[in-house]
């Protein structure tokens, strides 16, 4: 009796494992699907990056970065935290649009937004853990000391809370995957509360990332330092999120067709145009805000300096240009061009955050531009983390009902 029971259980587990994790394939079948050019590239990157990450934890930050006393932060935070968090506004933007403002047509993209947001924040925290001197003390702002005047204290709390919120927002998808019913009902009931919590936390910490630089007015170049930097960061995070959803949905439709359904594929063109419209409006708003920022500080004369040229490239080439491209693309309903515009807008966000946190920061120090070039191990570590990010993202998209609807579950 007992014996057959346990046997049944192990058979159950086996089929569950094959169904859920191997997507209905046997081990050999599954392993064979893994040999793809992308996976081989990923393996190469990881085989270089992972040992470097291990070395960083064994021998300190100097082994992989050029972090110095004048340049405490580098690519890990400039790219991972300051670049990663605005792009992870996808969860908050799509969630708000769908659940609060009632843009019901965007249902096929909501979970994609939520998942991208959740993973984005998770990896922002991972970059932070790699960069922190004593990462095992990550919980200190929650338990050991309260630096309530610190913007970073606020960011720490908000990112921690928001990560939890985003996980809760994603639980319906996880529970659908696990075919749960009872817990599922509970999970969907908190959706609205979680979405509003997401709005609060997101508006605050997106702008807080900008506010982090308010304390160092002498160090950040005046073209980027502005009392409005909080608004810049918040506004730009919204178009960053919209543009990123355009991009990843396109990538998913192209490379993960099996994970999608007809609802997703059939509506994607129309929805992309709609998101493009939103992106365009936000881009123009942001552009105007940036111009007001210069006017407010009366920094027109600085535009004629080398940093000024770079600033012009940033807001003309990476804000105004994508806005114009998107305007044209939305008007003429060209989905491909919308995607190109979105790509440029996403690049622009990264350029802006890298500018604020790395290029225009410490601009007055001698030999500045020489100091900010990251050494190759730092780049390799970042590439490795990006690769893990993509792999996990893909792993989940292939399994959870994100790009498709789970049979038997109604929209909530």
């Amino acid at each position: 009796m007992n014996h057959s029971d346990s046997l049944e259980k192990s058979v159950d587990f086996r089929s569950w494992f094959m169904d859920k994790l191997l997507m209905g394939q046997t081990w050999p079948e599954y392993m064979r699907t893994l040999v793809t050019p992308f996976n081989i590239l990923a393996a190469v990157i990881l085989s270089i990056g992972l040992p470097l990450i291990a070395m960083r934890f064994m021998y300190g930050l100097t082994v992989v970065t050029h972090a110095s006393n004048d340049y405490p932060w580098g690519l890990f935070l400039g790219w991972g935290l300051f670049g990663g968090v605005p792009l992870s506004a996808t969860g908050f933007v799509m969630g708000t649009a769908y659940y609060i403002f009632g843009f019901k047509g965007y249902r096929p993209l909501v979970r994609l937004g939520l998942l991208a947001g959740f993973l984005g924040y998770l990896f922002a925290v991972i970059y932070l853990l790699v960069d922190l001197g004593r990462p095992w003390r990550i919980y200190y702002p929650m338990l050991i000391g309260y630096g309530t005047a610190s913007v970073l204290f606020l960011v720490a709390w908000h990112v921690a809370l928001y990560l939890t919120v985003q996980f809760l927002e994603l639980t319906p998808a996880i529970l659908e995957w696990l075919k749960s019913r009872r817990v599922y009902r509970w999970a969907t009931m908190i959706t609205i509360a979680m979405t509003i919590a997401g709005i609060i936390l997101s508006t605050l910490h997106q702008s807080a990332l900008g506010a982090m630089f308010l304390i160092a007015p002498g160090k950040l170049h005046p073209l980027w330092y502005s009392p409005y930097i909080t608004v810049f960061f918040l506004t730009s995070s919204i178009y960053a999120a919209l543009a990123l959803v355009i991009l990843i949905s396109a990538i998913a439709a192209r490379f993960l067709k099996n994970a999608t359904d007809n609802n997703f594929l059939g509506n994607l063109g129309k929805l992309t145009i709609g998101l493009g419209k939103g992106t365009t409006v936000c881009l123009y708003v942001y552009f105007v805000l940036k111009v007001i920022g210069i006017a407010h500080g009366n920094h027109w004369d600085l535009l004629a300096t080398p940093y000024g040229y770079w600033f012009i490239i940033e807001i003309a080439g990476f804000v105004l240009l994508p806005a114009l491209i998107l305007t044209y693309a939305v008007k003429s309903k060209r989905v491909g061009v919308v995607r190109f515009g979105a790509l440029l807008a996403v690049a622009g966000i990264i350029v802006n955050r890298i500018n604020v946190s790395i290029i225009a920061f410490n601009w007055k120090l001698p030999d500045h531009l020489h100091h900010i070039i990251p050494p190759w191990p730092e780049v390799a570590v970042v590439l490795a983390i990006v690769t893990i990010h993509i792999l996990i993202f893909r792993w989940i998209l292939n399994r959870l009902p994100v790009l498709r609807e789970a049979p038997g579950y109604k929209a909530h």
Binding site: A67, G133, A149, V151, L152, L204, I215, A216
Partner: protein, 323 residues
């Protein structure tokens, strides 16, 4: 000096105005919150602990003997220097405080007299309202009533935001350590001060170019020196107002920017640039749920109405059909 006085006067004015505006802004909420327009939260103005100590460095007196570096190294049990303390080759490049040196002395060419180069001692300035302490998310920094700004490595998790925030590029970090990295900076010999001694660098300085005393006394002394020797000093006490005022003060014979002092930092304590944002936080926390909750409810309400209308219309149509 005129400019400084004007500044502080204007600061006072703007503060009272903005405090008055605060309630108005509270009512305005909305967009202006995000613009960070709220300048002042209702905080008590704190002009620093009374009777706190300070240091006055007379840059015209320093002869670059590096005795202060040596004394600092010995008193704080820092590792022996790579280059001996009586070696002048270190002056070839500009140094900064590191994980192994709380203080360094740099040499600058004297435009008036090539044989008498100018030296600048660099270390933590022990701000009245330190940016590092404001930036630290774990409260690892303390501004002591005696003046020194202290750091507690037991709390620090190594985010290095204090280094970003410090307007003087002071805190250094122990990047080489994988398991116990910490911030390193001058502590103004806090222990010695508590024991009634004076900081080691001041004690070691043969010319007493570094003077230890009550900050208020030192400002008076600096003013007197400048007044009595107008040819020797420029009319500026660096640190009297910079970044909200620092415990460490400097007087010099040449303009401070020639000695790489950051001179474009505002007279406001750095945290004041952030206060607008911080005071908006509670507003967002309380108003957002109400605002977005209402939006959600109103949209659902409209949906329900439409649905009801639709049903009524259907019923009517059915009734018509029946009749």
């Amino acid at each position: 000096m005129d400019k400084k006085d004007n500044n502080s006067e204007m600061k006072k004015k703007s503060r009272t105005v903005s405090r008055r505006c605060f309630l108005g802004t509270m009512a305005a909420l909305g967009g202006s919150i995000l613009l960070g327009d709220i300048q002042a939260s209702a905080y008590e103005e704190f002009s620093g602990w009374p009777d706190r100590y300070g240091m006055l460095t007379d840059l015209t007196a320093c002869v670059g003997c590096r005795s202060c570096e040596k004394a600092c190294n010995e008193v704080n049990n820092l590792p022996p220097p790579e280059v001996p303390f009586d070696e002048k080759s270190v002056f070839k490049e500009k140094r900064r405080p590191t994980a192994h040196a709380y203080t360094v002395v740099n040499r600058y060419e004297n435009p008036q007299d090539k044989d008498r180069p100018i030296y600048r001692k660099v270390q933590c300035n022990h701000c009245n309202e330190p940016a590092c302490a404001s930036a630290c998310p774990i409260h690892a920094y303390t501004k002591t009533p005696e003046g020194p700004v202290l750091y507690d490595p037991e709390k620090c998790f190594g985010c290095r935001y204090c280094m970003i925030a410090c307007p003087f590029y002071v805190p250094a970090y122990d990047y080489e350590s994988a398991f116990e990295p910490r911030i390193v900076k001058c502590i103004m010999c806090y222990g010695r001060i508590k024991d009634g001694l004076i900081p080691a660098c001041a004690e070691a300085c043969p010319v007493e170019a570094i003077t230890f005393g009550k900050r208020d006394d030192l400002i008076k002394l600096a003013r007197k020196k400048i007044m009595q020797n107008p040819d020797r000093y420029i009319d500026h006490i660096y640190g009297e107002y910079e970044a909200g005022g620092t415990s460490w003060l400097y007087i010099s014979g040449v303009p401070f920017e020639q000695l790489d002092f950051p001179t474009d930092i505002s007279d406001k304590p750095p945290i004041e640039h952030v206060e607008g944002f911080l005071s908006a936080v509670p507003v967002v926390l309380t108003v957002w749920p109400a605002l977005f909750g209402t939006i959600y409810a109103s949209l659902r309400h409209r949906e329900n109405l439409e649905e009801e209308n639709n049903q009524n219309r259907k019923k009517e149509e059915e009734r018509k059909d029946e009749s």
